[in-house]
Symmetry: none
Subunit: 262 residues, 2 copies
C-alpha cells in the first residue's frame, strides 16, 4: 500500500499545535503528504514543538489558498464530518475507508480533508468530496480534536497497509463489485480538477436550457447532481463523453439562436 | 461492552495538555475512568482547555501516588510500550487488545497504563502488567504522543463495543459506504423499468440534439452511458431530476423550432 499517495488536507486550522500534532501522527503512521489550506498561523513554533521529530513533514507541507488547489491532482476525495448532513452523502468509517481504497491507492492519490476546529467543513467544501468520513464515536460528544482525528485515520491506513503486507495472496477485490485495478489507458479515474470542470460545464448548460429558472433551486439541484455523479466515480473518458454531450447541446441551441437572429 | 470498566492510567505525565487531550479522546469514545499517577501539573488550566467539553472526566479523575494503587482493583493490566523490551512479554495491538478482552470487560475491570512522555514506563512498572500494548506504526518514528496513543486505544475499544452492538442488533453497515437502510421517500432505489425509461428518454434527447450524428457511435455510446449511470445506482428522485433536465432541454429546442417555423 502506497502510504505516500495519501494526502492529509487541513482547512483553515486555527491552532498551529493541531498542525504539529497532525504531522507527528502522520509520520508515526508512515504518511508524509500534508497540505494546509489558509492556515491561521503557520509556520509556527507551536506547530514545530508539537510535531516533535516530524518537522520534515511541516517543512514539506504545501500551503494553498483554496481547497480546490489542494485536491486538484487527487482521484479520490474524502471529507471528514462529525455532523449529520441534510443530503445523504455516502459515509465511511476510517476503517472502511482504508479497506475500500487499499487497492486504488497503489496507483491513485487520495485526499482526506479535515475542516476547522469549531465548524468543520462547509457544505460547499463537502460538495467537492465523493465520500464523507465519519469516525464512529460517542454520539453525545462526537467532536474529535482535529489532530486526534488525523491520528485515527492515519492509524487505520497504516493498519490496512500492514494487513496487506502480511497477506501473501493477491490484492482483494473492491467491496462494491466494481473492478478495483483497471488496465492503464482503459479506465483512468478522473481527477478532482477535471470533475470540477465538468460540474461547471454542467451548471452552465443547465442555465443555458433554462433549467434553473424552471426549478428555482439551483444550489440544491447542483448538490444533488454532484452527489449522483460522485457515486459513479467518473472516469476521464466518461467526463469527455458527458462534456461532449453538453457541448453538442449548447452548439445546437446556439445554432438555433443564430438562425433566429438571421 | 462495558466501556465504563476500562481505566486509562497515565504515569508521571509532564504536560497537562496531554492529560486534557486524553480526557477528550476518552469521552469521544465513551470511556470515563481516568487515573493519574504523580502528574507533574494537575489540575491545570491547560488540561482543562485541551479537554474541551470533557472537563467532567478531569474533575472525576483519581490522582494516585503509586501505580499499584491505580491498578489495585483491576483484573487485567496492560502497559503501553513503544520500545522493544529485553524480556519477551506478550504484546497486543490495540485492536487485538479490544477484541481479546471484549467478553471479560462485561464483568472485569481493565487498566491500560501509559508512561512518561520521554521515557515511557519503567521495567518495574511493566512488570505489573500482564500484557504489553504495542501500537503498530512506522518503525523509524514509533513514539506516539501520549494523548494520541490514548485516542487510538479508546477508539479501538469503542469500535469493538460497536461491533458487538451490531452483532446483537439489526442493521449491518453497507459494504460500500452507501446507506443501507434509508427512510421511505428519502432515497428509494429506482426499479429496472424506471431506469430503462430513463435510458430511452436519454437516447431520444441525444438524438434530438444531434449527438448521435456528431459521434456516429450510438450503440457503444449508449452502452457507456448505461455503465456510467449503473455505477451510480440511481435513486427514484435522481431519475426524476435527470428526466426533468432532459425534458427541459427538449422543450427549449422545441420552442426554438416553433419560433423558427413562425
Amino acid at each position: 500500500m502506497a502510504l505516500a499517495n495519501i494526502r492529509i488536507v487541513m482547512v483553515e486550522t486555527s491552532h498551529p499545535g493541531n498542525i504539529g500534532a497532525a504531522a507527528r501522527a502522520m509520520m508515526n503512521m508512515g504518511l508524509s503528504d500534508l497540505c494546509l489550506v489558509r492556515p491561521k498561523d503557520f509556520p509556527s513554533a507551536k506547530a514545530t514543538a508539537r510535531a516533535s521529530g516530524a518537522c520534515g513533514i511541516l517543512r514539506a507541507a504545501k500551503v494553498c489558498d483554496d481547497i480546490t488547489q489542494a485536491i486538484a491532482d487527487c482521484q479520490i476525495v474524502v471529507g471528514a464530518s462529525a455532523r449529520d448532513r441534510s443530503v445523504a452523502w455516502p459515509a465511511l468509517s476510517p476503517r472502511a475507508l482504508a479497506e475500500k481504497f487499499r487497492p486504488q491507492i497503489e496507483t491513485q492519490r487520495i485526499a482526506v480533508v479535515f475542516g476547522r476546529e469549531h465548524s468543520g467543513l462547509s457544505n460547499d467544501e463537502l460538495d467537492l468530496c465523493q465520500y464523507l468520513l465519519r469516525i464512529p464515536c460517542n454520539p453525545k460528544f462526537s467532536s474529535l480534536n482535529v489532530g486526534a482525528a488525523v491520528q485515527v485515520v492515519a492509524y487505520e491506513f497504516y493498519q490496512a497497509a500492514m494487513a496487506q503486507h502480511d497477506a501473501t495472496g493477491t490484492a482483494p477485490p473492491a467491496s462494491d463489485g466494481w473492478p478495483a485495478n483497471l488496465a492503464p489507458g482503459d479506465a483512468v479515474p478522473a481527477g478532482a480538477a477535471e470533475i470540477e470542470s465538468f460540474f461547471s460545464h454542467l451548471q452552465q448548460a443547465l442555465f443555458d436550457i433554462g433549467f434553473f429558472h424552471a426549478t428555482k433551486s439551483g444550489p440544491s439541484l447542483m448538490r444533488r447532481l454532484r452527489r449522483l455523479f460522485h457515486k459513479a466515480r467518473l472516469e476521464q473518458k466518461e467526463i469527455h463523453m458527458l462534456r461532449g454531450i453538453l457541448s453538442q447541446m449548447q452548439i445546437r441551441l446556439e445554432l438555433q439562436h443564430r438562425r433566429e437572429a438571421e
